[in-house]
Symmetry: D2
């Protein structure tokens, strides 16, 4: 087992869940996808996230996915499992099973029913108690959850809940939040900050103090390169590359639609056998496919120019 820690950095790719055209789990594509992510420079993998179609899986299928990924990873990098659930019993059950299988930690998003800072802090206090001694990622994604978590509430969670080791940062706007979290005295210990939102602010996020990305953009190599060049102080090179990918990243980041874009590209790249989303969940229209094709062609050309 490779355990998730406060030292997490680099690129934790949010894995898609591959399905066959008929909606069945496509386990062979999982293997291929894991290989691809490793080759693309992933330093961690996150499964069953919002973009992993987790709610469309039965409990048994969820574990099948976790098991298959872990088997293929074979301990090379840590795996995080999304365990957000309407209740703590289900969350604890999936956490236990995943950790038993060898996961390195879990990720927890707040339910939309939380209304005040106090309630948010309490929620994470209780969740941590339910899952026991398991490192977890706090997912801060107001656009999707409807829950806004100010820096002061994050600071309280970090102080009171030692198993909180990482922030999946996808507040929007969120740059000042990173700066505030990294300012001396805000947190009583350093945790990892990995950024989401499809990577569309990654250069700025790195400059503000992020440790890397945790998102699923269909070109993980972009994230690897940005993190690499930013870490080395090669900001111009990072931005040149980033700008080449940005038109596609922007297109992939459309809420709801984005996953279909991501799977369309991954299938086109040969990473997964089919772009199919499990129902409900539609594919891309022909017009959208043409738009993506054009973005891919122009991106390839621009990357060549930069080579």
């Amino acid at each position: 087992m490779t355990r998730l820690t406060e030292e997490a950095r680099g690129v934790y790719v949010i894995a898609v869940t591959p399905f066959a055209e008929d909606g069945a789990l496509d386990l062979q594509s999982i293997d291929k996808m894991v290989d691809f992510y490793l080759e693309a420079g992933a330093t961690g993998l996150t499964a069953l996230g919002m973009m992993g179609e987790a709610p469309k899986l039965t409990g048994a299928e969820s574990l099948q996915v976790v098991k298959r990924i872990l088997a293929r990873l074979d301990g090379r990098i840590p795996m995080v499992v999304g365990v957000s659930a309407p209740g703590f019993a289900q969350m604890a059950e999936l956490t236990r099973a995943s950790m038993d299988l060898g996961a390195g930690g879990v990720m927890i998003a707040p339910p939309g029913s939380l209304k005040t800072d106090e309630q948010v802090v309490n929620y994470y206090r209780q969740a941590a108690e339910f899952i026991g001694n398991v490192p977890f990622v706090l997912q801060d994604f107001p656009l999707a959850t409807g829950v806004h978590i100010p820096v002061s509430a994050i600071a309280r969670i970090v102080e009171e809940v030692p198993t909180c080791v990482c922030l999946k940062h996808e507040d929007w706007p969120g740059l000042e939040k990173i700066t505030a979290l990294r300012a001396a005295g805000t947190l009583n210990r350093r945790i990892s900050i990995l950024c989401g939102n499809g990577g569309v602010f990654l250069p700025e996020e790195m400059d503000r103090g992020a440790d890397g990305a945790m998102t699923g953009f269909c070109y993980p190599e972009m994230m690897r390169d940005i993190v690499h060049h930013c870490s080395k102080g090669e900001g111009d090179r990072a931005r040149d590359l980033f700008n080449a990918y940005l038109p596609l990243a922007r297109y992939e980041q459309q809420p709801g639609l984005g996953l279909a874009v991501r799977k369309y590209v991954l299938a086109k790249r040969g990473v997964i056998a089919s772009a199919a989303l499990r129902r409900p969940g539609a594919g891309l229209t022909q017009a959208a496919q043409q738009e993506v094709d054009m973005l891919l062609a122009r991106q390839e050309q621009r990357l060549k120019e930069l080579d």
Copy 2:
């Protein structure tokens, strides 16, 4: 098996889920509770609803509860199982298991992510397809779900989805909605309308055309009597009784807090062994207990006066 149909009427009690003080399922109290509901005049039972702490149960526990209730009911009245879930796979799985055990139908609330009428209708179309030939209750509870379903959308669901046999009506305000649904030409077939909201509008709802109640007020005998007297045209008697229970019903209907009130009274009445809610979920403060005690004493006295 006693199947839920468009003919459902009377009182479908929303069952609580009894827990021991330590949070374990209290299966013996389930038996006692079922007996109590039957004696109080229930014509149906609904388990794993929002007020049944369903999300706090693991999948296995949910089935344990369903099984135990069905065994005790022994086919005397139909049982409805709440199967609302973040995804259709989980919903279909729980539906299948419940129906195999002998449930009469299921209940489905819309997820908060639905934004337009079209999306609501689509959701129920898809849900019905996923669960197959199983009669279901459409739960219309905007205060809790955040989803507003206008009469025109309900009419489309009833027309397009033949397995929708009942509306759990708890829009607020909702009286004109019942009138509109019962007006000639609104629906292309008659479905059952059972009202929620703790029964605090039951006399008016019956007059507007409801078929009864589906809610869990801690005195189901109130609902039985109101439905009975309203059905017989004894509106004054119905209102006399209703008014005697209203101060408590109002108190029990406080969002969030209401379940603790309900369990406190049910425990006090000897129906369940403990008033405990599974965590997270607090009990009543001492001040609240005293308020409820006073409401109970005054209610008893007023009922005696009316005898």
Copy 3:
């Protein structure tokens, strides 16, 4: 001028805004209404609240209403003016004009865009700065505003903003909130707590430490009597009366619809000339009118029995 202070107690009636059938302001009814409220025992008046159809008035009309009420009150009791607005410039403008006319204070509800405790506290800090040295009521009504303000945030506002002298309490459930606010050490100074929500929890609210009511139930005499008897320790008498009014109060409290009920009853009682709401805003259907008529008849009878 009668200034609003931390000593506010009794019944601050939320005034309706009377319109003629054609939607014009009915200034003569304002006079009659003010007389009625005074006779019914109002210790204060609040105009241009959510139930005063304030957003349907032009700026000039708003001031006309304020002026007319103040003229009729003639300094006998303080008047509070609702000044909630999308921006501080408008809020400050209406505040200044109202105070110049002789108002005693203003009321401010938080805009729905506030997401965190910090933002709520900041909002009131800024609002107070904009309106200057004017006492104000903090309106805490999450059901209508979508903003949840925990006790800790109220405590910070009270501490940091000395012009906050009163809480319009209508969180639901809200009884524990009153208890918490009245507990030693929660607030650094005592402010007035006046309760809303149509009065449907008034006896319990008084017992928990409220100073009275600030709401517009169409029988203000109910609120006067409850506050009176509760203050004198005559809880049983208070509850007898309360229970007689509760069926109507419950009916009037239906969101959106409630104002039409209130105006229907006030017109029926001869307080205002017409029950008309300014458009948009519909009146009661015939079915609803009959329901209210029956509630009124039964209420009258019950009150006689209690005499």
Copy 4:
């Protein structure tokens, strides 16, 4: 007067409202800004929009702004005035005053309280009745308003409300919506579709059938050029330019923060005297200013390469 019609196309720039450092209206900067927008190719101007800090103005100030812009425009291009308000009385008042001053039309966003398609259609029906024979823009911006308007509801508004002549399209994702609205048979008459969202999808939007942009990106010349090249079928050139501006457009589109970015750049370009936002509303931190400066430098360089 230049009246807004269904033929609107090109770039309707959302104007900022310039303030001095002390928060006073800066009328001289308005003149300069209008000149700048005209030179940059604006075919229309929209004032008092969400990004125009409209709620921070008093009624009198709003009219001052409208008057000043109209005087400078001198009828060369149509001006649209944002008149969204909590109530129809205020909306009608501002509309009348603006049209009297020579505005070409108004823009109306739906209030967040609308919950169903029916309510949305009704709202626009009523608004149109209140403002009379004035052409208006329907603002479809769910991220900001919380109101989701499906194509079918837009079609009903267009059919029933003849004064609706333009859609400010900023649903996200929204490309399929344009395609659906432009499909034969969807609308019973053609209206103008101008796109918002800071222009970050403008090339795709033009290809889907939009008539131009209505947004306030700090480089209106970008929008002019994209619209121009897309209209001429020069998609590659359009995309080359678009990609050069995209890193900055993405940065400016951050909700809430975006206006500070926009004003910072406009001040830096000499268009307005000060980047100040009226309170509440903070400026950019130093870190953010450096990020914008770097984006500007890189953008300039890339545009040179493309020349």
